[in-house]
Symmetry: C2
Subunit: 407 residues, 2 copies
Amino acid sequence: MTDFKPIPGGVLAAKDFVAAAVHCGIKKDKLDLVMIHSLRPAAAAATVTQNKFRAAPTYVTQEAVADGNAQTIIANSGNANCATGEQGLLDAWRMAALAGNATGVEATEVIVCSTGHIGDLLPMDKVEAGIAEAAAKLSRDNAELAARGIMTTDSYPKSCAAEFEVNGVTCRIGGIAKGAGMIHPNMATMLCFLCTDVAIDAKLLRQLLVDCVEHTFNCITVDGDMSTNDTVAILANGAAENETLVYLEDKGSDAFQAALRYVCTELAKMIAFDGEGATKAVTIRVTEAESFEEARAVAKGVANYNLCKCMFYGMDFNWGRVAAAIGATLLDVDPARISIEIQGIRAWHRGVPERFDLQAARQLLRDREIFVKISLGKGDAEATVWTCDLTPEYITLNAEYESAEPA
Amino acid sequence: MTDFKPIPGGVLAAKDFVAAAVHCGIKKDKLDLVMIHSLRPAAAAATVTQNKFRAAPTYVTQEAVADGNAQTIIANSGNANCATGEQGLLDAWRMAALAGNATGVEATEVIVCSTGHIGDLLPMDKVEAGIAEAAAKLSRDNAELAARGIMTTDSYPKSCAAEFEVNGVTCRIGGIAKGAGMIHPNMATMLCFLCTDVAIDAKLLRQLLVDCVEHTFNCITVDGDMSTNDTVAILANGAAENETLVYLEDKGSDAFQAALRYVCTELAKMIAFDGEGATKAVTIRVTEAESFEEARAVAKGVANYNLCKCMFYGMDFNWGRVAAAIGATLLDVDPARISIEIQGIRAWHRGVPERFDLQAARQLLRDREIFVKISLGKGDAEATVWTCDLTPEYITLNAEYESAEPA
């Protein structure tokens, strides 16, 4: 068998997890509060944004997973609880206490996330009522609702799940994520919640999550803007009752790793391709680099170069903009060793421009999926970055956004 | 008196310089070739893009100024002569030889610049005829025409001139520049040509130009995209007949430095504020930084954050996006020491969000000129960066661009 198999069930595909999503009134008329809960103690890990202006809940989340355990996730949309000073931190801790109380766990076992407008205090009365309501509605049936509940400008709910085997025992992992602007994770606002029933040591869980995020969520970009609230969190409750995975070398660790990578890759691609206003799904693959980091930096340079993004939108085969973007990274790359291919058409090969049929090439850009391949001619490392085009709709969406009166 | 005085005359304000601009047929029906020539030998300096995929002419220009002398500038628009391989380099050298021959100087005394589409070979027959025509039309009266001749998507010609005194002798400096997309000089395609009649040693000229570019052209950004062709070049022909400036400490060096800074600042601001599709002129000032470099990096981080650029366009007082942009630079800054002000309204002060009238604040964003002030609370260095908003027109302009069939 392969290492894993895609399955339905979304974020609740694994055993002994429940979820709920409610409208508590932060937003006008959309779901704005999601709760996910493990029915048994769970190992936990999380990575949060590196933004220096990061939001209050990211501090609470780091505290929650510091001991390797957490059992409840509470997340609101419509308000980022960022740049809210001392009060914002108190509010984030209060969310943890309320959600913990409602689900029968300590406040320090609660992962807290917020996404939305920066600079306003949370309406805590609404949040408090919402947490009580969500806890009352926790159920195995709410996977789809939870995926909808964390959406902001996403055009569709994003979830994915897979099953895999550890020593003959079937385990499951499922996740949900939201984008869709301000996506340049490092981490960059994207949120992703993963629930697995594999039994795994918290240290190994953390190691595998960090590595996975580097190759998935940290390989996507919508607009190059790093957010203040990004969080990827995972709960592993052991309900599958496999022999606990402790070391990377343990039999089954590779299967879990593969399933985790698959789910995160799918969710990351959904986020990138569903960027605000996007009309194109762009994959940029860089090969023959000296390191994964170098390959990713070149790919991200192209992915974030506005003139390339406009070209994908405009469907012009202006490969020179890709060359300019590579050069603009200021990395130690040599045009005389580089090859550039778009939709399988080689435009530049090791210092020499190639002849091709421009009309035919242009036609290939009418596909929704765009593939750019760049070979650096230096080594054997590679990386793939996923992104979208830049469209007038992105700007309209982000320009029409109206800040609300401060609370 | 002040150090310098603005004067008319553009790029030909200084003595013994002539210019011409012609249409040679690279573009459909616009001026596409400009020649500037000093009637006497001149000290020369130039800075070119750091882009690794930089265009062929930038190599020729570096060679030309390596010995500190140059006398003629030849520049075409409509074709960047970039990513053109060996033939591109030969073509750039041929442009130098043709322009040198036409103006009676060695090929190595010619600064060559190109701007336009990347990846196509220059139509050298047209360029050759154009250079001959331009040389025949060289005149003191063509300052305005030269400014128009280097325009690509600029909405208006950009020129500026000033006079200053060196030991009682009046000297002049004038310049022209072009933007308007792909502007993130480092150098990032902007071109700027400066002509001065001050007598100055080539070494000092170079030192002052490099320093000036750091604080002017390297402080502007339109879209964060670094171009392959950027060049700032200066010719100093000594026609003012002042005592030659040799050292920074020489009397009059400061006056020249001030006039140079003034002309370059004005041209840089014109480029930034005339970004493709721009509706806003945005100035970002960062103070209390540890170094100029740190201050500039924070200012550029905000200037290039697409969500901030959209906010300026949308005129929403969403100051949290400025906070997010500062944090996303990943520099060692502390929100608890930072202050953020937009249009004089303080929104965040040393860790605490401030109360303000959102409607009144929003009203202030209706101005064309937007001022953002950020204090880092760390040191006493500062920097100013000039930029514009990001608009649907930018994308339309860059998406509708059509590559021509390869030659």
